[in-house]
Symmetry: C2
Subunit: 202 residues, 2 copies
DNA sequence: TTCCAATCTTGTCACTGTCCAGATAAGGCA
DNA sequence: TGCCTTATCTGGACAGTGACAAGATTGGAA
């Protein structure tokens, strides 16, 4: 055990783990390929075989982020009543909770140039989260009498924009004066939506 | 004229100008202190006297961003009818137009760790934009019968979150399938707000 | 005119990502 | 069993980066 094995055996995962730790501690600007290698206990060039460049490492982190994000929203929704407004509130709460609990990862996920968006895994993970959003919005769209795909997409964008904007502004310290649970965002939106009379075309 | 002056005379502004150009061309990751110096035609260490470190340069860019942002929203609102909904729509349009026209600057403005938020000028410029938002939201708050400062703040956050989220998702390429003018964001929000009956407490 | 302070240049350092050649080990094949 | 192909990892190197230090240049005040 005192003698270090030449082959790590599970270096790729070890690197990702180390990178995730460094990410939340020091932020993206503190995340260096050499630092990750050092934390994993390998030489500075060892990551090259698993991640040809730092962008590919960030892409892997980003992918994990979307998976975690999906799970967190799902759990939040599963614990809530099944009616439309409750599901929207739960989704918003999950969105926010993820951003607050792992702000650096959240930042990374939504800073597009940082990662490689031609990567299959990343696209799949991202699309899965996108589909989740659509499913959660469906009851609200039904309640508002929106049948045209365009209108439904518009509602999704509205809900998403609101949740995302709130989460982003919050972790960037722009809403620091208020507590995260102060009930802004989709919660109020939902209340307004469901109290408003459905109107055919804006 | 063939002989280059030892003293630039207006180096600080020249550096900022060069940095703004490089920023929108190559993004923040392509913005280097040495590159900025080269574009301004000075040696690699010349910026040090005006900007002790790269963070202070980014802070200056960020400050300019908030000034431009304020002006853009103001112009958009000035060109619109003075009623509450129109002003909200105009503000949203200005918010979006700024983000789309200078996405890298927008990104920089809302990536907090990039710049120094103890800087007086930056804080002033940011607070000015924040006050502008409050002023634009005031008529909507009045129309909804919101008198308590908490409720008014909540509305502001709601409006801001929605506009910001839409702008951010758009420039990060997450809403690429739809055109920017497709009327999401505050416009729909406003329509819902002004069609909804005012309710005392959610 | 002289001198000081601001400004700019040159040189240097540690650190980074990336590339390269070579060392080491794992597993298939004889 | 022993060899050998391939994947994995090491150590060294290079250009580019931000930051620092020391010296050159200049504008303006005394």
């Amino acid at each position: 055990m005192t003698k270090k094995a030449y082959h790590h055996g599970n270096l790729r995962n070890a690197l990702i783990g180390a990178a995730l730790e460094i990410l939340e501690t020091d932020g993206v600007e503190g995340l260096t390929l050499r630092g990750v290698a050092a934390r994993a206990g390998v030489s500075h060039a060892a990551p090259a075989h698993h991640f040809p460049n730092i962008k590919s490492l960030l892409t892997a982190l980003c992918t994990i982020g979307f998976l975690r994000f999906h799970d967190m929203v799902e759990k939040s929704c599963a614990a809530a009543p099944m009616d439309g407004p409750s599901q929207l509130r739960a989704a918003n709460a999950g969105y926010l909770a993820f951003a607050v609990s792992q702000p650096e990862l959240f930042r990374l996920m939504f800073s597009t140039p940082a990662s490689d968006w031609t990567d299959e895994n990343l696209c799949a993970a991202s699309l899965r989260a996108r589909a989740q959003l659509a499913a959660i919005c469906a009851p609200a769209a039904d309640a508002l009498g929106l049948t045209a795909p365009d209108d439904r997409g518009r509602l999704e964008r509205l809900v998403w924009s609101c949740a995302h904007g709130h989460a982003h502004l919050l972790i960037e310290g722009r809403l620091s004066a208020q507590s995260p649970e102060s009930g802004s965002g989709i919660m109020d939106i939902a209340a307004l939506i469901f109290s408003a009379r459905p109107h055919a075309k804006p």
